[in-house]
Structure formats: C-alpha cells, structure tokens
Amino acid sequence: MTKGVGTNLEQVLAAGTFAVTAEVGPPRGGDPEAIRRKASFLRGVADAYNVTDNQTAVVRMSSIAGAKILLDEGLEPVMQMTVRDRNRIALQSDLLGAWALGIRNCLCISGDHQKAGAGGKLKGHPGAKNVYDVDSIQLLAVLRDLREQGVQESGDAVDEPVPLFIGAAWTPLAPPEDFRALRLAKKVDAGADFIQTQAVYDVPGFAAAVESAREMELTERTAILAGIIVPRSAGMLRYMNANVPGVNVPDDLIQRMKSAKDPRAEGIAVTVELIEAVRALPGIRGVHLQAIEAEQLLPEVVERAGLLPRPGNK
C-alpha cells in the first residue's frame, strides 16, 4: 500500500497508529477566514482534514482552494474530488494543479447528485447538467496511473509522475450488501490506499461488513477509517436513518438522544463510544470524524476518545 508519497496520513497509517481524519466543510462564500477559523480550533486534532467538494451538490468554495488554505495554516488536507462536475480533462488538470499547490491526499468519490442540492432551505442547482464522464473507481485508476506510470487516462505522459495518497469511500450497509465488499475490492485494485466509510451507528452490521472485507484480505491492502458523524439531536439521527442510504441508526440510540438533557454532551459521549467500538474491530485503522457545521465539537471528541496528542503534534 505504501507508495512513499510521504503524507502525514500515510505515515501515521504506516506506523500502525490509529488514524484520525476530520471533515472541514468549506463556506458558501469566498472568505478564506472561514476555513482559517476552523483550522484554528482543529489544529492538532487530526492527522489530515478532508475538504469536501460541493457536498450535497451545493456550491461552496472549491476543495482545491479550501485544501490550499488549510495547507497554509499547517494542516494537512485530504482534497475530496467528485466526478459529478468535471470530465477527465478537468479532473486531471485540477489534480496537477492541486499537486502543484502542495496537496498530496485525494479522496475520489462519485458525489451527491445535483438533485440533492434542492433539499431543505436551499434551491441548489437541480437543473445543472452533470458530467459523470468517469466514475469514482475509474478516477482512482486515473490517480494510480498518474502516480505510478506518469500517464494520463489516455496514456499520454505527464511531465513527471504525480504521487498522491489515494482515498476512496465505502458504504458497506447499503444494498446490495453482498456486493459491497466486492466493490470495495474493485476500489482497492484501482488504487485506493485508504478508505473512509459512510457513517457508522450500527456497529454489529458494520463489524460484519468489515469482517467480510478482512476475509478478502482487503484490510491488509488498504487502510479503512470508519466514518463517524457526531449526532446532535434525535431528529438528526432519525433523518439520517430515514434518508441517507447505508446509514442505519438503532432505535435505542435515537431514544437515548431524545431523552438526553444535554444533547450536545450526549452526542459527544455517543461519538466517543462509537470510536471505541470501531477501534476494537480487527481491520479498522482509524476514524473519519464529521461534525457537520459543528466542527468545534471535534477537539473534545478526540480528546475524550484518548486519541490525543496526534503524532507529530506533541
């Protein structure tokens, strides 16, 4: 797996340390301070920070720009890249550009469909034309070939190889469940060095999925980081359970959040328990933490999970 790209995330994983990544959502505006503010309280909390790429198909500051701002703040970014909005020409051009700016981790995902942006209070751009020239697994192969062969998708050479540490997503608990580990294998074969999973609340279900990946020796060939979204209310859990495919929230967890006197504290407690539970699973090499629009909760989460200090941030 280790190709010597040299990112902090890669080194933490290679050292066998339980890794922590955290999500940083870019603003719906162009103010770099919005990213710097998040950087100021997230510094030292994680080994690398995912910058999302117009998540839920809502226009935000680009993940390249957000990643560069983090980098300037001394935080290592994981640039997320969806195949929704760019064809293979633009994707590869942006990969070269991101590399030129010093970005070295990239997570390849298909991205939320543009219809997703029309939910809630926002209009989004449901009338947008999507691209989907390549899919997320084909994008992984593009990154692998840029790194290992120094060639573009077409086979044309780039001036020099583009060594990126390559990530992919995994939703093990969406149907067809018996295909999900096989699809994970496709991602690993296509070049995924690390995996960040869909949010885990159903630990036994997740454990069974990880076990099937382990039986296929995928956990030796890639580093799986369990995704955990900090719950903030029973309503949020209920919403995710009903509307986010692959996210199964047990009823008792929803009840627990509902009866909590202090949902904020309870959400942190639940998160810490989830981290401990997934950490105990053979084959899980870290956690990917998301506190959507509430990143200020993460320092306490990571501290209480006993995951501080992070390597290199002593």
Partner: protein, 223 residues
C-alpha cells in the same frame, strides 16, 4: 421508443401569439406510442390551444394533420399542400420530426409543442421509463441487459454508489430502481457476481453526441 412530453399550454400560447392560422402536426410513430404526439393527442390539443388562445385574446385557427412518420421526407411531403395556408407550424413529434418540418418548410416558423426527453419503454399503462441513452458504446452484454448509462443517475460503470436505498431504489428518486442493484441481482441469480468485480475502464463517449454532431455514413447504401 422516442418519448416526448407536452410543453405547458402557457408556453405554447406565448409562442403562438401573433399568429392567425397554424398547423398542428403530429406523428403516428413513437410519440403516438407514448401518447404525446399521435393523432389522438393532436385532436385533443387543438381545441385546448384554440381555447387558450381565445382566452389570451389572440384567437387562432388551427389545422391538424398527423403524419405516419414525421422524420421521413416522403411523409413530410404530405404537408406541402397545407403549409401555404398557415403562418406557423407547431409540431408535437419528437425533436427529429420538428426539425424535419423546419428543414422542409424554411419560410415558416416551426415551434416545438413538446419536449423530447428520452428513449424509453412503456413499463405499465401510463408509465414510461428510460432504457437507452444512445451513448454509442453499448455495454448491455456486460450488465445483464440493464443499462447503467441511461438508468443510473450517475451513469456509473463499476457498480452502485452508496446511494442505494434499503428497498433497492435510487436515492435520487424513491420510485426508480437502483439499476446496479438490479444488475447485481441478475448476476447473483446466474452465479456470476464475481464477473462484476472486473474493472470497467473509462468509456469512449466519442461515438455519441460528445464526439460532435453525429453522422452515420453507410457507403453500400449510398446512391
């Protein structure tokens, strides 16, 4: 079949303002099958349009004619006698038929009465669903006869994204099957799920509209 859907009457009213006599032209082929542009729809739409134009304060006369196939010149020719008597044409054939009329009768405005949306099949009475995207690089042999280009919201080639709902529907539309879930079901039923683990490389889209306006030249059929 090629599927088209009526434009809103209000949009048609806006198009037709200022015209006095129009020809409403249908087509008895695909758009008749999908109940949007055949003779029955032509004869249904004509009085609706007359009424709407009347209400709008711009009364018009409407002639109607439904051709066997609006995309074939020999049938289009049947309109040659009527066209001199009208000042505009509104067609509810697919985009191909509409363009054929515009090409044959370049002196008249030709308006689309429908939006052409898809290559679809009638799944049930009153329900059509897309089957083909005319991508020019057919993969149906690898996907058990289910098209991931037309029927996956993201045209994925290597299996389902994380957005398959627990009931097997697509996260983009709760009434639409996740086609990759169906593909996996068929592969599973044939004991061939392992075949779906083969990496499908990026598609060549150049044999579709992405390669520039498509022309198909068959020398052996040329005069």
């Amino acid at each position: 079949m090629i599927v088209a859907e009526w434009k809103p009457i209000a949009e048609l009213v806006q198009m037709l303002r200022g015209h006095k006599k129009v020809l409403l032209a249908g087509c008895a082929t695909c758009v008749a099958e999908c109940a949007s542009g055949g003779e029955r729809e032509v004869e249904t739409l004509a009085p609706l349009l007359r009424m709407a134009m009347q209400v709008d304060g711009n009364p018009i006369q409407i002639r109607t004619k439904t051709l066997e196939r609006q995309c074939e010149w020999e049938f289009v020719e049947e309109l040659a006698e009527i066209v001199p008597e009208v000042d505009a044409i509104i067609s509810i054939a697919c985009g191909i038929g509409i363009q054929a009329l515009a090409e044959r009768f370049p002196d008249l405005p030709v308006y689309p009465g429908v939006n052409t949306t898809s290559l679809a099949i009638r799944e049930e009475p009153g329900l059509w669903a897309v089957r083909c995207a005319a991508c020019g690089d057919c993969v149906l042999g690898d996907t058990y006869g289910l098209c991931p280009i037309a029927r996956c919201a993201k045209s994925l080639m290597n299996g389902p994204c994380g957005g398959t709902r627990s009931d097997g529907k697509c996260e983009v539309d709760e009434d639409v099957d996740c086609v990759w879930n169906l593909i996996v079901e068929r592969a599973r039923a044939r004991g061939k799920m392992q075949e779906l683990t083969e990496f499908r490389k990026a598609k060549d889209w150049s044999n579709s509209g992405h390669g520039g306006p498509k022309r198909i030249l068959r020398e052996e059929l040329r005069p």
